[in-house]
């Protein structure tokens, strides 16, 4: 009773202070105060439930762009809108497109519960309805099961605000969107396309539609049809009689998944560490470091056939493989000179030539990354006292040029496609955490893209718009993404990424590598 009295005194001031001022003196009694308290207590569970439900919806996209484009992706006719299916890895094309666009952080894709008006594909376009809802673009479509067992998918992308002249498809567009028809006579229609696929290709077809929409509305190539490679590290704890303590035991697998984390599969499983997967520019092979038989070795594995070819197993370190942009050579780290140094090998079987001429024997060079024009590399070196980034032209005879002057640890650089900026791991002086940061080569300016929690191992998407990296969440290493302007943040669901976990194993994900464009 006392508690209720205290609540009575406090509640009106917290929530209804403004209203209370409007009441006439007659109603400023204990009875009226009690009514406010009751109302607040009735509403409290609703408020709590809403914040919990809100958290569940945002499980993956942790931060979106403040000016996201509002788009209505309507369920395609011909496919069942099954809530159970929608929540899982189903083949509902429209749902996959909606999630792709939403998770890119660039779009606000309305939930289907809000889209009660479901026009058919060929119905006249009700511009007024969509304007009132605040939508800028509408995607409609139809999926038809053909007698052959294949599926025919037709979609239309319509703009609510018609342009006087419809923008042409930009050069460099994907094969998919250049095949799509831009209808210049109907000023609402931006894009329409028809395609036929097997049941197993439905997800891929949906991702191609997302790419086409992304390109049409943002003018940049989408990465919804790309893939990611990463290493899953499996940990169990076992009691060791010899050491009289519980010791950790490990195994590793090299995994491949779609860019959204679905369809994960194991390329190679091992009782020894696997590191540093690197894609060939044609997307057909992955090079990686394997410690099988207690020896560091670099293998190249063909993704389609699974065939493994040994690239390098010299004594000591064989590490950090990186294919050149033309795919004809590979940079790697060897310790044959006494310290880790970078070498370049012509593929398939050239001899390893040192990158930096007359390098001092005592310094470390590692983590080579090729400039997009293939003429130079950036790498990590401690020749300045701490790990920093250096630039060196292939065939040069001078000394490496230092690029990073801010912070006491800059490593794991990736060139952006523009060749003028790098993404790297960066630690500021006095800080204990690493951030993913962007380094402008000309000015030396470093901008943090992530904050607070230590983040490592960045890999840049082939369109230069997103960075995939490792961070800690709920005590474990997981994969996350941040956009190149730092505004969009995304976390990949761990349960999708690892499909071969055994009972009692703890999984950490590491060493992600984003594929090139795979068309």
């Amino acid at each position: 009773m006392i508690f209720l009295r205290i609540l009575d005194r406090i509640m009106p001031w917290i929530f209804c202070g403004g209203v209370r001022l409007h009441l006439s003196r007659r109603y400023q009694t204990a009875v009226v105060n009690r009514k406010y308290t009751v109302i607040y207590c009735l509403l409290l569970p609703w408020i709590i439930w809403c914040s919990v439900a809100n958290a569940a919806l945002n499980l993956e996209l942790t931060q979106g762009k403040s000016a996201a484009m509002p788009i209505a992706v309507l369920p395609f006719t011909g496919q069942a809108v099954d809530p159970k299916q929608a929540a899982g890895a189903g083949n509902n094309v429209a749902y996959i497109v909606q999630q792709d666009l939403l998770n890119s952080g660039q779009f606000y894709a309305y939930p289907w519960s809000q889209l009660t008006h479901r026009p058919l594909l060929d119905a006249p376009f009700d511009q007024g309805y969509w304007r009132k809802l605040g939508v800028e673009d509408v995607l409609l479509g139809h999926v038809q099961l053909l007698p052959s067992g294949r599926y025919k998918i037709i979609f239309k992308l319509l703009s609510v605000y018609p342009q006087s002249s419809v923008a042409a498809v930009k050069p460099g567009a994907t094969k998919q969107s250049s095949a799509a028809t831009i209808n210049a006579t109907n000023s609402h229609l931006l894009l329409t396309q028809e395609t036929q696929v097997t049941a197993g290709q439905l997800r891929a077809a949906a991702h191609h539609i997302s790419d086409a929409i992304y390109q049409a509305l943002l003018g940049t190539r989408g990465v919804f049809s790309t893939r990611i490679a990463y290493v899953s590290w499996h940990i169990t704890q076992q009691y060791s009689a010899q050491q009289k303590r519980i010791v950790p035991r490990y195994r590793w697998s090299l995994q491949l998944a779609d860019a959204d984390g679905y369809n994960s599969k194991t390329l190679f499983a091992s009782a020894w560490p696997i590191m540093s997967p690197a894609w060939s520019p044609d997307g057909k092979n992955i090079a990686y470091v394997s410690f099988e038989r207690n020896q560091a070795q670099i293998f190249i594995q063909n993704i389609a056939t699974g065939k493994r070819t040994l690239l390098s197993n010299l004594a000591g370190v064989n590490g950090a493989p990186a294919f050149s942009p033309d795919g004809k050579s590979i940079a790697l780290v060897l310790s044959v000179s006494g310290r880790s140094k970078i070498y370049i090998k012509a593929l398939p079987s050239g001899s390893a030539q040192p990158l930096v001429s007359q390098a001092s024997d005592a310094t470390i060079e590692t983590e080579p990354t090729w400039a997009p024009d293939g003429h130079s590399l950036v790498f990590t070196s401690d020749q300045g006292g701490t790990p920093q980034l250096y630039h060196y032209a292939v065939g040069s005879t001078g000394s490496p040029q230092r690029l990073s002057f801010s912070g006491n640890y800059n490593a794991h650089a990736n060139f952006l496609p523009n060749g003028k900026q790098l993404v790297c791991m960066h630690r500021s002086i006095g800080s204990t955490v690493f951030n993913i940061a962007k380094l402008d080569i000309d000015s030396g300016k470093i901008t943090n893209l992530t904050q607070d929690i230590t983040s490592l191992s960045p890999s840049v998407a082939p369109n230069g718009q997103m960075v995939l990296y490792v961070t800690r969440y709920a005590g474990h290493n997981v994969l996350a993404e941040v956009s190149i302007d730092g505004q969009v943040k995304l976390r990949l669901p761990q349960s999708l990424l690892v499909n071969d976990a055994a009972a009692g194993e703890v999984i950490e994900v590491k060493d992600p590598a984003w594929s090139p464009f795979l068309d």
């Binding site: 929530f15 009441l23 509403l43 942790t62 560091a296 370190v317 990590t380 969440y473």
Partner: protein, 174 residues
């Protein structure tokens, strides 16, 4: 009538405040995650604090052993140097005996840079062995960087136990 109108108005204000609260909440998942992650990390590390290692007899040879290093350093402590000398003398006297030196680091920093750092540590131990007359073909060096920690966790105590070089005789299990 007036009472009902005022109750409805207060309901509206409460709902508005509720919406403001909610939108505030959804704008700060990062700080929520950070706090939770830190909590979880502490719990994880505490569970992995090592029990006392069973000591090895460092005057005995052949004996597998472990040498520990300071952060970013490849310098051996004098106690470790003395212990290494025992194994070096044995290896020099038994040219068919072989050892594997495994260099390791703590988890801070990038994976490949830590491979290079682990290599530097193992190299430093190998050089001391060779100075005592051990032949290079008796020594295999490998660096695991941060890939195989002896102790899981994100604390200074775990890091100290992970910055190490393992000396393991081929054919000797303990």
């Amino acid at each position: 009538m007036l009472l009902a109108k005022n109750i409805m108005r207060s309901l509206g204000v409460t709902l508005c405040c509720g919406v403001v609260m909610l939108s505030g909440c959804s704008r700060n998942p990062a700080s929520r995650d950070a706090a939770l992650a830190q909590q979880q990390a502490q719990a994880y590390a505490a569970a992995d604090e090592p029990l006392a290692f069973s000591p090895v007899d460092r005057t005995r040879a052949p004996q597998n052993d472990t040498y520990y290093f300071a952060y970013d350093s490849d310098q051996m402590t004098s106690a470790d140097q003395l212990a290494l000398l025992v194994q070096a003398n044995y290896l020099a006297a038994h040219p068919n005996a072989k050892v594997r030196l495994e260099g390791n680091t703590d988890e801070r920093g990038s994976a490949e840079y830590n491979i290079a750092l682990g290599w530097r540590r193992a190299q430093s131990v190998a050089q001391r062995l060779e100075l005592q007359g051990v032949h290079p073909r008796q020594i295999q060096i490998i660096s695991f960087g941060k890939e195989k920690p002896a102790v899981l966790g994100h604390t200074a105590a775990a890091y100290t136990k992970n910055r190490r070089v393992n000396l393991i005789y081929k054919g000797l299990t303990s």
